[in-house]
Assembly symmetry: D2
Homo-oligomer: 325 residues x 4
């Protein structure tokens, strides 16, 4: 059967509600608003049941949404960075002299997949300075290392192996992994940031990672930060078909053959149609915006700023906006 | 009413045939095959009637299609360059000492729109050498100049004004304008090259040009070369809806209410649906492939090679493949 | 005879003083200090004599020097942008609804020559908006267009022809031309901005322009903004030889054969030596810094900011630092 | 005392001969010519004495020089790739199912240091295919993985630690490390390829690596491939000073005060002069060519081709020239 493709916990929940018309069990949801331009949704998967229904590991999924990010409002960008930093700080291990390893997943040669590498290029890296001056902590900054491991197609090596190898040598306390995501709705592309404590799962993201990246596989806590940059074409097709059927139903009496045809069409045949629509399109078809190149640059700045001010107490946004290009 | 968006003459014709179930009047079509991997379709709009039905000016539209271009078959790439060069040579003004001005339309900061600039970066430019050595003709090469004028959003100036201004100074005999196009079908993205003698029309291409570029506006003949790099999201949605309706019709007796509902749904309501589907997606939604960055590089090489060997008799493909990166 | 290569008026004057041990006639010089981190030198060539001795047209040459720019001090960068904007405003034609055309000279594929194109990519372009809304003036912004014409080697067309052609179509009141320069001293590379009212002369800059760009050739006033990004290798060699000779002289009695040999060596033989040193190095040898890539990005931001706040009264530095990446 | 900076064994030997006017002991040298456009010099350091005098570990240093590479002769480029491949094959461990890890050292944001990353981007990576199809060997290709580890300033981690970590996970049989070098003579920049079996030493290369990369530190054999992309400014200054002194000596009688002054100037004072010349230039001053951006692209293609045909018996140059952009 066709599965709507989404990397966002909020959407997985949405889908459940749409189909089952009830709140999803084993999942706690809490919404809040910042300056009424930014909406924060905290989805917590608390048990196995919830995990299975959501198709995601137990843990926290924080979603920061700001529709306004589509326009070039620099103040809103700064607010989002600050909100993100605040959420991040809350998730950081409470440890003096924390050492963080930032990993930019994805392929820098594939624009919608280049978010991770772009963010890493804007991270204030300090680990080598701590080594050089033989310091373990500092009031203004913490030890940060960063890498863009590339993708298996260009390195020939599992991304998880590269990261594990570097971790064994550099011994960070924490990994922050950034990845481009697929959303179910175009309106969330580039306007939504998901922060989760559960790592990154295979096949998620734009660039199909194949192995888990989480505390279990890496040996240190993993905070995953993702932003949708594309919508899966099959997902958009599925939404379109559902809308056509809904529209037609409104023309027909409940119980009529017509209505019934529409009803049992729903699943099996619907999937055949999706395939029929997309077959000629070949694999790797994505729905995105013409502005994706610029969007990747803008949103990566927002996220890098958020990480930089969360990890380096001594610097503020005014600095990072100007120091890091 | 909804208009399927396509910049390809072959598709405009396809659409007419699908709806009217007849060949389009005022248009001559001729197909041929090269090494059964490459299909050439020559669409000739011969009168006003045809021009109006096709929504395009009178003239020749040559389409070179090679599905195999999706894979990295270097030999096929070379064949396509040669086929393209042959068609191009046939369209060149018969003049000793021909001087050609190659214009790469589109925005190099927008990947699917960067085809033109990419091609220009690979063109063998020689005009300054002819000037330097005070030559007017040469057996091995012809005078070629090239520019990427940018887009109005980044220059503040109508692209047509920039090109006209440069033409008045550099006095070429011919303009070859390269632009990224929108196709109706994903399978044509990056596998189809359209060469036309009618210039480039407003609103066509990925990067919405606003004024005509043709012999009338520029004062010299214009050969337009385009390759589809995206599919308009509305077009894909429209195709999807049509397929759903077709599928449902197959379940219902001709003449039944159901069948009729489906029939009169066709146009008015269909358009409303398309809008409903795409509204949340905002403007500038495109359907493309994850490989678009690499595709732009590959296809621009094919086209630049075709132009280079067409304009410079003295060089062959072996040279350009190695000299120009 | 060997000519020290410099595009900076302040250095042309320095050289004269070093050789002739007197102030250069026909030239007025005025120095001032800003926040003692920025030094402004106003060189005014007032007559033919001065023009000939300086090897430059009559007019004003304003040099803004800030050694601190080598380090990443964001506050100093902002101060320099503001100082530059102030000087620029003083040079702008006093006209309501001024329309400016910014030209980024140089080759974006040659790092030390890419300053102009980099600046243009950060300019706030507004001309098309004025056209769209049929406005001629606005309290917050002025009409700005911008282009990177490329270099003759890649376009096949004289850069001056391209610019003239576009000016004839777009009819600006003013041209601001940005170009990368060669300095005599490495310490001035990336720390010095020269603003002049005399346009740009052939052979100056890193990318050897061949025709004048000034009010006479373009028909509108031209403000040239340049930053040294390289030192000519011959110049550095010449300085080295002079130092060796000076050092040796300090060992020998005035009038001794030794001293005399050193003295008449000075010119003729010195030049032979320079050639001998550089011959194996081939043409196009430059002395620059390993950081040149980053420097081009930083300094282009400073200059673009200066131009943006000078031409758009409504925006301040805080905005441009964040809006334009 | 001043040390001429060179990463080329052939130059270290040159220097010794210039100063001591004798062949260097403990070193075997063998020259050969290919198509009289390519010169191969094999320097073998055979004992401790030689190692100490050369300031390099014992082992083989193969230098491939082709002055013609300065011009864009595609046939010569291909010949150099083939010659290089042949030398490389001779150095490969004789092992069925050899697995090679290619490492591109240097900083891709610093043009003259970007050689390594550029080469890696053109390497045919296959290791993941061997894993996917569970093969250990193949007649047409061998298992190749590749990475660009970045530099400590951008990752915060010792490059050697990153490489060691990845090696422990991916278990290659061989490392091929590519790095940009500093030459003593501009004529060797971009025209010389050095292949050595001794790994890469600290402080060599343009991008100052800090730890050894060799069989001892990495646990597998290391083949280092380097190309000079810059000349150290101090080296050029030193050469200049020597030439001045040589010129002056030719004017003076052996034994005269003058001659003696020149003689004992030689070392101590010479160094003071070099410092005096370069002080104002600050650190990181390099001498290079204006074409360095293009040169990095061209030479990286030559080297990548050489590696690709050496490691993948099934492909020939025609393929790689067209498949890999």
């Amino acid at each position: 059967m066709f599965q709507v493709r989404t990397d966002l916990a909020v959407e997985a929940r949405e889908l459940y509600k749409e189909n089952k018309r009830q709140e999803i069990p084993g999942v706690e949801v809490e919404k809040s608003q910042v300056e009424d331009a930014i909406e924060i949704t905290r989805v917590k998967i608390i048990d196995e049941k919830g995990s299975q229904l959501m198709g995601r590991p137990k843990g926290s999924y924080i979603t920061i949404e700001a529709r306004g990010l589509k326009s070039a409002d620099a103040d809103l960008k700064d607010s989002v960075s600050k909100v993100m930093a605040k959420e991040l700080v809350r998730l950081l291990p409470k440890k003096k002299g924390l050492s963080t390893f930032v990993v930019g997943l994805g392929n820098w040669d594939v624009t919608p997949d280049a978010l991770g590498p772009e963010v890493v290029s804007k991270i204030l890296v300090t680990r080598h300075l701590f080594k050089m001056y033989k310091k373990t902590e500092d009031p203004t900054m913490s030890s940060v290392s960063a890498i863009t491991p590339g993708v298996m197609g260009t390195t020939g090596i599992e991304t998880s192996d590269i990261i594990q190898g570097i971790i064994q040598k550099s011994k960070p306390d924490l990994v922050i992994a950034i990845d481009a995501l697929a959303s179910r709705k175009m309106e969330r592309v580039s306007t939504t940031i998901q922060i989760s404590t559960t790592g990154i799962s295979p096949g998620s993201g734009v660039g199909n990672l194949r192995k888990q990246l989480n505390e279990e596989t890496l040996g240190v806590p993993v905070i995953a930060i993702g932003v949708p940059t594309v919508v899966d074409a099959a997902t958009m097709t599925n939404d379109t078909i559902s809308m056509v059927i809904k529209a037609l139903k409104s023309h027909s009496k409940k119980g009529s053959d017509f209505f019934n045809i529409l009803d049992d069409m729903k699943d099996n045949e619907k999937y055949a149609l999706i395939k029929e629509v997309l077959e000629p399109y070949g694999a790797n078809v994505i729905v995105t915006t013409k502005e994706i190149d610029k969007i990747i640059i803008d949103i990566s700045q927002i996220i890098a700023n958020g990480i930089n001010i969360a990890l380096h107490p001594g610097i503020d946004l005014k600095d990072v906006n100007r120091y890091i290009n």
